[in-house]
Amino acid sequence: LSSGINAEWPLRPGEEFNTYLKNKTLRRPSYVIVTKTVAVLRELVVSSTWHHPTDLIRILKLYARYLPLKQSNETVVSNIVRRVLKIVREECSPTEGNAGLSVFFKKDSPKSSVETGDQNELKENICAGIEELEREVENSKNSIIKMALEHITDEVILTYGYSITVRDFLLHGHRKRNFRLVVCESGPSLKGHQMARECAEGGLDTTLIADSAAFAMIHIVNKIIIGTHTIMADGALRALNGTHQLALAAKHYAVPVIVCAALYKLSPTHLCSYDHDAFNKVIGPEMMVPFRNANLHSRVLVSNPEFDYVPGDLVELYITNIGGHAPSYFYRIVSELYHFKDFDLDSETSHDDT
């Protein structure tokens, strides 16, 4: 770590979280990771020694670089760090706002617009901001599922993969609406099986189909409701492997694709190349070829990518905790939730903060 931080570096909460992230055997819903991240960051704000908000910003950014974010592929952690950074920056200089053409019209404002005298008040304000973020995260799923009755009628809905948000969305809709659910088994992880089981246990009329049957079934489906791992800055998706094909099939039959996702999944990053170099992750092939059969496939390269890129124009509507949006609107939400200086958490120029 750099020498820019003082000696009282609160490693303990950070270290536990670090180990937690590195542990890939745990199956972790995004919501759990997000709540843990907010708690760790709050701990960091309260217990680390900083005299000026820019020091705090530097500490948070260094902490983000210390976490194994690339290995664990949990973009929600970086998103929450960015949210907290925005809270801190807002306390630091409330009039700054976001970069825009109006950046031409602002002279470089003096660095310390906040006296170091009321540092305690500043800390309190930042903690209040973080608590508000915590509440938003807690209520995000409920805000999404409340909109179920507006979007579901008596129809046939198709879903893909396993998403807690989508499952609860559908179960909430089931209270007053009568609809049939078709679930694709979502190979090779076969997460669709768990989805089908849980929805059926909740009382829904569920049908499980193979992914290859999706195109054949789509003409009787009225809408597709899916979850996602991440929402990119241009309204595109980084979703479960196989979602892009489903979205293309939907487009062919003009079936709307609706994505239910909380805003902590929104990441201000873009897809840089169709080769998915930094975008995708290849996971173990044991889902496709069990280890006992490895001999039969010893000369074959078995590739099991985890994610799929779905361009924004294939998605009709996003249902987020702040309401329904078109994919083209996300540039606006990104500029409201995150500060442009935090888009790139890896940048080496993290000391250039004002």
Partner: protein
Amino acid sequence: MIPYDTKFQELSSRLKLASGTSRTSVASGCDLFVRFITLRSKSLEEDVWDSKNFDNLKNHLVERGKHFMKRLSGSRKSIAQLAYPFIMDGVTVLTTSMSRVVMEILAKAHEKCKKFKVLVTISEPDKRGHRMVKELRSRDITAMPILDSSIGFVMERVDFVLVGAEGVVENGGLINYIGTYPVAVMARSLNKPFYVAVESFKFYRMYPLRQTDLPNESKYLSEDEAEHPVVDYTPPQYINKLFTDLGVLTPSAVSDELMKLYI
């Protein structure tokens, strides 16, 4: 304030006439400059504006002008910083005519040791594509000129298209040297990403719906309409992303940025 205002108008129109094919970018740059240096901010500068001291006011305007210039000259570098990750090893980039912003991006990617190939359309009538190729080759970047008519042939081998801009209009559409529109349509038809690299001072308050909606002084170098136009308009649906010094934007974000400025 009236005398100096007309002086600026005069200077702007003379610059526009002199700038040949870059009329649109000069026009938007001038508009923004005039707005910037005459902006009265409520905070610190009240006394400067209200005082009878003309020298003070003059110094203030000059200082603002310098500040504006500083922002502008940094914009190409920040665009290059933002855009070079989109150039991966082994890609083939297609570009049109001569753009210094695109040059900066490609140079940055090359500096970061990426191996890529650039195809440049020759861009009739003044064949400025050759200048781009020469400049790229002088920096050791593999560049090849291609005929404007062969973009259809070449497009399947291209990974993405990256062009500069004369101007970006309110709906996110692009005004660029003639020949850009067919490249955009071709890229869309073969599903290749079409990226635009543009500085934010080129955002222009205009909402053309068709090619004929562009003002004549942008399109034609002389009064004679029988001449060939020098720019064309690419509608926003053909553009995937815009790399600007305000960040990576989608076409829908452009009008938002313009509104923030004028309201």
